[in-house]
């Protein structure tokens, strides 16, 4: 009888290409996703070394970070961005890599289209030059972000030298209350263990609350694993996973599907397998979460007050909190509820999928956005945009006074002109509230699509649960 293993160890073991004394393990990469921002220097490196892409058939590209979210009939006005986009399309052509380019009807955020197209599958290793690659872990894949040197390595060899990470079980049991979402689970985890709490680890999210989540919700949870410092985060595949995948363009078909299903069913963690660390979260104890500071670990339940730095014992930690409150222009002990908001952003690889848009539309339907607030709704992909329009969600957003845009990363990373002005506050469904992340001097409150939509209506940080009652 072999030693019981976690899914993380199974994924590792099945991808070992070579092990040599003194060197990291060489692991094989099943899917390499590429985007315009972190790849140009990697392609240039291939050219300098005279190398080809080893497996273009395991590689897929799209544009998302630097593209505008204005109508696609318009050109990319920013010439630096236009050059970067053109460079990706040219690189893909030269090296034979399929690419959903700027004008593709399937273009979208790289972490949205991988799952959408059925490219992301259980049991895979998935990499991308982007730290939110952990999103794909929702399928029971080992998926992690890499730098540009590693992008070049994978393009050239389809392999990566890696050291094994520690295993970290995140056990979420119980049921979420209405108004509390997958986003609140992950924001709660990060607020508990801090943004370095998962460094050196891969999370496995388990427990009844995780099992009850849809694939889109699991993607939201896995997406932000990096915000706790974890290299990756994943959920073992189950019937929810298989139902989502069946029939997608790149998913296996017929006998291949049956064979894949038999393999995938072997992936979940064995009974009795040991993790290096475990944390337990009671889902029924959670409230909607919101961040108040300048990293994703600075989060609180929405009805609680802003923490007091004088209660923090570690001096550098205390100084960080003081610095964060100064940047955010917030006072310790104040509530965040009721704080004025200038912008609401609904989008990003964290929360731009159909269920996110439906949730936001459910709150906005028949209501008006507060005139003091600019609201941007940015679907994660062109497919999602079409589906949302087919369901009439675009009409709900527009009638409420929100801006309905084209697919891309948009104001999550503010590379494309979608950004906050200095001093402005946003409630954002994205993943990072670092200083200047959404525009120099901009201030970000991270929250769920429900909280974002509720705050759009009142123009203030709002608990969606109170909004529902007043309706």
């Amino acid at each position: 009888m072999s030693q019981p293993r976690t899914i993380i160890e199974k994924l590792w073991d099945s991808h070992v290409v070579a092990e040599q004394p003194g060197a990291p393990t060489l692991i094989y990469i099943d899917l390499h996703l590429v985007h315009e921002v972190t790849s140009p220097q990697a392609f240039a490196g291939l050219r300098e070394r005279g190398l080809k892409v080893r497996r273009p058939d395991l590689t897929f590209a799209t544009v998302d970070h630097s593209i505008p979210t204005t109508p696609r009939s318009l050109p990319i006005v920013d010439q630096i961005a236009a050059t970067q986009v053109a460079q990706l399309e040219a690189n893909c052509k030269e090296f034979g890599i399929p690419c959903f380019g700027f004008h593709s009807e399937h273009q979208g955020i790289v972490h949205v289209i991988g799952p959408e197209q059925g490219l992301t599958q259980p049991g895979m290793t998935v990499v991308c030059g982007d730290s939110h690659t952990a999103t794909h872990g929702a399928f029971g894949a080992l998926a992690f972000g890499i730098g540009t040197s590693e992008v070049e390595m994978v393009l050239a060899t389809q392999c990566l030298p890696q050291r094994k990470s520690k295993t970290y079980q995140v056990l979420v049991e119980g049921s979420l209350h209405p108004g509390v979402t997958a986003k609140d689970i992950i924001l709660n985890l990060i607020s508990r263990i801090g943004i370095g709490g998962g460094t050196g680890c891969v999370f496995e999210y388990c427990g009844s609350a995780i099992r009850a989540l849809s694939m889109e919700e699991r993607m939201t949870v896995c997406n932000m694993s990096i915000e706790a410092g974890a290299r990756a985060g994943l959920v073992a595949p189950d019937d929810t996973t298989y139902q989502y995948l069946a029939g997608r363009p790149y998913a296996p078909k017929g006998a291949d599907w049956d064979a894949a299903l038999a393999r995938w069913r072997q992936l979940p963690t064995d009974d009795g397998a040991q993790y290096d660390k475990t944390i337990r979260i009671d889902a029924s104890s959670l409230e909607p979460m919101i961040t108040f500071g300048t990293n994703p670990g600075m989060g609180i339940p929405i009805s609680s007050r802003i923490p007091d730095p004088s209660a923090v014992s570690d001096p550098l930690e205390r100084e960080s909190l003081v610095k964060a409150l100064r940047y955010m222009d917030l006072k310790a002990g104040d509530p965040l509820l009721g704080h004025p908001v200038n912008v609401v952003f609904i989008g990003s690889c964290t929360n731009s999928r159909m269920s996110d848009l439906r949730a936001a539309a459910g709150v906005l339907k028949g209501r008006k956005v507060n005139p003091s607030v600019r609201v941007m709704v940015v679907p994660g992909s062109q497919e999602i945009k079409r589906q949302a329009q087919a369901e009439g969600l675009d009409t709900i957003f527009k009638e409420a006074g929100a801006d309905w845009r084209e697919a891309g990363c948009s104001m999550c990373i503010a590379m494309n002109g979608d950004q906050l002005a200095p001093g402005e506050y946003s409630v954002s469904t994205s993943n990072r509230n670092f200083e200047g992340r959404q525009g120099k001097g901009g201030r970000t409150f991270l929250a769920s699509p429900l909280t974002a939509a509720a705050s759009a209506i009142t123009g203030r940080v709002t608990d969606v649960r109170t909004l529902e009652i007043s309706r």
């Binding site: 990291p24 058939d57 890599i97 972000g145």
Partner: protein, 205 residues
């Protein structure tokens, strides 16, 4: 990759925990297709005011930063995005080593691939060194990769950990890619037994 063996340098103190890569180089400067000129945008939003003038309070704008090759900073340096532009910008500015109590995983990997040495020390050593450096702009440390030691001005030698393979690459000045390209046989053997692969070139929707 440039070789890294030893280093003796003054040290720049940056008293911030959790410095994220959006601070090291803001995303709006990532639209470039080259690696050049990124040092101009290093710590841009801390380094320059709204009018683009240097902020005199920021440590990199002070005379002590000129020519210094070592940065000492707070816990969890380099968290956030995977952008390798962060170590590119830091090395172009002139840094060759960063001392902290911990580094984010992706940043550490990216740094090692660009001859930028992450040096992890204990909290005690960190706070002792940080205070000494803050009080003395001319304070110098020595870093010896062969013996994996950081030597403080008072002669205290502190050992630090480095992945053995990364150390080898740094000492020789070689990229990992050459090492992996030599393993074609193992890669082919692995590919021959893989099952259930996708094919991104076929089945296009």
């Amino acid at each position: 990759m440039k070789k890294f063996t030893t280093l003796e340098s003054r040290v720049v103190p940056l008293a911030v925990d959790n410095v994220d890569t959006d601070q090291i180089i803001p995303a709006r400067f990532l639209k470039t297709i080259s690696k050049e000129g990124l040092d101009r945008n290093l710590f841009f939003d801390w380094r320059y005011d709204a009018q683009g003038n240097p902020n005199p309070d920021f440590i990199l704008n002070q005379p002590r930063a000129k020519g210094a090759e070592v940065l000492i900073t707070g816990d969890n340096f380099g968290c956030g995005s995977s952008r390798e532009h962060a170590p590119w910008a830091l090395t172009q500015f002139g840094f060759r080593a960063i001392i902290s109590t911990s580094f984010a995983d992706i940043f550490r990997q990216n740094a090692l691939k660009n001859s930028l040495l992450p040096v992890v020390v204990s909290r005690d050593i960190h706070s002792k060194l940080f205070d000494a450096v803050t009080n003395n702009p001319d304070y110098k440390v020595k870093i010896d990769l062969v013996s994996q030691t950081l030597t403080l001005a008072d002669g205290t030698a502190v050992e630090f950990a480095v992945d053995a393979f990364a150390k080898h690459c740094l000492l020789e000045g070689v990229d990992e890619i050459g090492f992996v390209l030599q393993q074609q046989d193992a890669i082919k053997a692995y590919e021959a037994k893989r099952t259930g692969s996708i094919n991104t070139l076929a089945a296009a929707p």
